[in-house]
């Protein structure tokens, strides 16, 4: 069975992918759908949703269009999710690969270092980092990356440990390939499948983490993000539920979609491990 067929056989994954595509399309089209800044006051504050055509999802405390905020927020949330996951992979993959391949003292040292990060509650660490570095796009991406790499390192290390005893790796050693070459050309390409699966799940948790930071007021104050919208509307939850509800729903759907799609990827890339769905 081909990759696509295996993926399509998981109905949840397909739904997830569709939601994800919709979000991505909205994010890409944001400037043409809502050319004005999402921060701009465009109507009376607290207009209810589904009443005026111009403001399909209503307006917030300052009369800003919630629909515009959602669409522009999608760009920010997806971007932070993807970039901070890349940062985490950039730290985690080489570290795990070196630890797994070298073994012995190096492995021990690197794994203790990884555990050090794992023992600190990741959200608390992210808050501290953002607060110290000032809440800005760069520091938020860095903080999320720094708190989410340890699982990547452990995963890659495990994969490498099992791969380095395979015959083709032994063969590469025998013909005298250099260690970096073996790692990059023989070992790492075979760990890509689990890394892709993990990465897709990590994007979801990165979006959640960014939303939580923004909710607490530690987001970049110059970027419209979903977490910020939920946080800014929470004091009006009783009389203007829509301000927090729609961005909350967007976060929920996007993270769910990423998890479903990640699951589907997992099934499709590891057919032998896939649960019998057929």
């Amino acid at each position: 069975m081909s990759f696509l067929k295996r993926f399509a056989s998981n109905r949840g994954a397909v739904v997830g992918l569709i939601i994800l595509l919709v979000v991505i399309v909205f994010a890409l089209l944001a400037p043409s759908l809502f050319p004005q800044s999402p921060w701009r006051t465009v109507g009376r504050p607290f207009l209810a949703p589904f009443v005026m055509e111009r403001f399909p999802l209503g307006t917030d405390t300052l009369g800003r269009n919630i629909a515009a905020g959602l669409v522009h927020g999608a760009r920010v949330s997806l971007m932070i999710g993807v970039v901070s996951t890349l940062v985490a992979l950039l730290i985690g993959v080489p570290l795990g690969a070196v630890a797994g391949y070298a073994g012995g003292f190096v492995d021990d040292a690197l794994m203790r270092f990884t555990e050090f990060f794992q023992t600190i509650p990741s959200f608390a660490l992210a808050i501290v980092m953002v607060a110290i570095l000032q809440p800005q796009l760069g520091s938020i991406v860095l903080a999320i990356g720094v708190v989410s790499w340890p699982p990547v390192a452990r995963l890659v290390r495990g994969e490498v440990l099992s791969l380095k005893t395979r015959e083709y790796v032994q063969a590469a050693v025998t013909i005298g390939q250099s260690t970096p070459r073996i790692i990059f050309s023989q070992v790492l390409p075979n760990t890509i499948a689990p890394i892709i699966v993990m990465g897709s799940l990590m994007i979801g948790s990165a979006i959640l983490l960014e939303s939580s930071l923004s909710f607490l007021g530690l987001g970049d104050p110059n970027l419209m993000s979903w977490g910020y919208m939920v946080g800014a509307g929470r004091t009006r939850l009783i009389d203007a539920w829509w301000i927090s509800f729609f961005p909350g729903l967007a976060i929920f759907l996007t993270v769910l979609a990423l998890n479903l799609a990640g699951e589907g990827l997992n099934d499709a890339l590891n057919p032998r491990l896939a649960r019998g769905r057929e």
């Binding site: 921060w39 701009r40 300052l62 800014a232």
Partner: protein
């Protein structure tokens, strides 16, 4: 239309309240009040934080009180006299006043407080007493004479309870004031005594049975409840746990909702002495911000009306200049800046602005301020000014503001009843000093402004002072060393059966002497 009707309803309820004050006060009862945040201490001579003043103003007293028009009223001083040359102030004290520990209050206490204790520890009294006062003498047990080096108009405004609380000499004389164990058990002459302070929970004050003003106070007890979360404070009021929400203790958004509850009254009075004035400080050392045309452009670009009506829920009033219209010496004869983006664009273009990014330091005092930054950022970007908002926490803000590390910075300052005390400090060049976020942090310096403020402080008559202050207001409104945004209103929300709560220029801070509960 609904706005008008609401206005009428408010006016009617104010009238009704006025009529109610004529009723005979009822004795007894307990009132629960919110204080936010928890005060660091209750010894008012050593600490004048907002929450400290709110509680301790009912424990301590000063020579004078001030009504809502800021006219001096008798408190511990029964009467006072100012010599014709405006240099000698003679205060006659009330008879039969005792401290909470039973010792009599005399002129010795007054001299000790003003000449020794507060001179050493009080940041507002110290500069006044050192610069203006020649001697403070006891004439007899119930008379004190203060002789000035030169006429100093604001002198009569300096005897408010947070500015000059009377301290018992028999407890503090000859001790290390800050380390005195009595700081934990404040002894004043006020209508209420401290019974218990359960940290993190409540402060319990009880009636002073031997209070010098016979028949007062009416209430038996006050509980100051400490509730750290704003939403929880609103709920505490709704569920009846507290009777009074003091100014600034609930979100602006909750004010409208809570004041509609049954048996609920709302007043914005009782802040006349402080008259908080909010503004944006441009750091005039930083490039284009030193350009007057550019600052005027910013002022035209900001929709201040929107800030007041939408961000602050309609509370407050647009200021015209450095002096609040609620205080003395205000003048409306100044250049004004109505919202006008087209004019703003013109001025900004003429100023030579080249699109550099300007950082806007947000004041970390809650959501309303964040919304305000966002609205102003949008206003300024609409006229082509690039703005980047910076968020930080309270210590971070204090540090950045005190060390001039900002381009535009939000701030709000108290006017303290007289321009010489609360206004001049933000504009005179002698107050350009690092380390205090409430000094002249923008760095504006103009010898003429310095001269006008200096002369106005010591001019002999109020008419002369008014003339000088009118001049300086006109000058500053043209120069715009800061961009005035709002004369803030801090609404006090309370149950209507708590009567006579806000009767003075400092409101709840000394309001419980006359308050009673129906």
């Amino acid at each position: 239309m609904t706005g008008l009707r609401l206005g009428l309803a408010l006016a009617a309820s104010v009238l009704a309240l006025g009529a109610a004050t004529a009723q005979e006060p009822k004795k007894g009862g307990t009132v629960h009040v919110v204080v936010q945040p928890e005060p660091p201490m209750l010894m008012q001579g050593l600490n004048q934080n907002g929450p400290t003043n709110m509680v301790a103003g009912n424990i301590y007293e000063s020579l004078l009180r001030y009504d809502e028009k800021l006219n001096p009223q008798p408190s511990l001083a029964k009467s006072w006299e100012i010599s014709p040359d405006a240099k000698v102030y003679t205060f006659k004290l009330q008879e039969g006043v005792t401290w909470h520990d039973g010792k009599p209050f005399t002129a010795d206490d007054v001299v000790f407080t003003l000449d020794k204790f507060l001179r050493e520890v009080h940041p507002r009294w110290r500069p006044i007493v050192n610069a203006q006062v020649e001697t403070i003498e006891k004439v007899d047990d119930l008379t004190v004479k203060i002789t000035l080096k030169q006429p100093f108009g604001p002198m009569i405004m300096t005897q408010e309870v947070a500015s000059a609380p009377m301290i018992p000499k028999h407890i503090y004389d000859g001790t290390d004031y800050r380390a005195n164990p009595a700081n934990n058990t404040p002894i004043g002459t006020g209508p209420f005594k401290l019974k218990e302070w359960k940290k993190g929970s409540y402060i319990h004050l009880v009636k002073n049975e031997n209070y010098w003003l016979k028949g007062k106070p009416n209430l038996d007890e006050i509980y100051w409840q400490i509730i750290p979360d704003a939403a929880a404070r609103a709920v505490a009021y709704e569920t009846g746990k507290v009777d009074v929400l003091t100014g600034g203790s609930v979100d602006v958004y909750d004010v409208a909702r809570l004041s509609k509850l049954p048996n609920t009254c709302m007043t914005t009075k009782g802040w006349e002495m402080f008259a908080p004035h909010a503004w944006l400080t441009p750091n005039v050392r930083n490039g284009i911000l030193g350009n007057k045309q550019f600052r005027q452009g910013l002022m035209y670009a900001i929709d201040r009306e929107f800030g007041k009506d939408v961000v602050w829920g309609g509370l407050g009033k647009l200021p015209t200049g450095p002096i609040s219209s609620k205080t003395r010496f205000y003048s409306s004869d100044v250049p004004t800046y109505a919202f006008d983006p087209a004019k703003a664009k013109e001025l900004i273009k003429a100023s030579g602005y080249k699109g550099e990014t300007i950082k806007l330091l947000n004041l970390p005092y809650g959501e309303t301020w964040s919304r305000w930054s966002e609205a102003i950022k949008q206003n300024l970007e609409d006229v082509g000014v690039k703005i980047q908002i910076e968020n930080t926490d309270v210590p971070g803000w204090t540090q950045k503001a005190s060390n001039w590390d900002f381009d535009l910075n939000f701030n709000f300052l108290y006017q303290l009843g007289d321009p010489a005390m609360g206004v001049a400090r933000s504009y005179i060049s002698s107050n350009i000093a690092k380390g205090n976020p409430f000094a002249n942090v923008g760095g504006y310096s103009n010898p003429e402004v310095d001269k006008l403020f200096a002369e106005a402080a010591i001019a002999a008559t109020d008419a002369q002072r008014q003339e000088l202050y009118t001049k300086v207001q006109k000058l500053l409104a043209d120069e715009l060393p800061v961009l005035w945004l709002l004369e803030m209103d801090f609404p006090t929300i309370y149950r209507c059966n708590v009567k006579n709560l806000v009767t003075t220029g400092i409101g709840v801070d000394d309001g419980f002497r006359d308050a009673w509960k129906e």
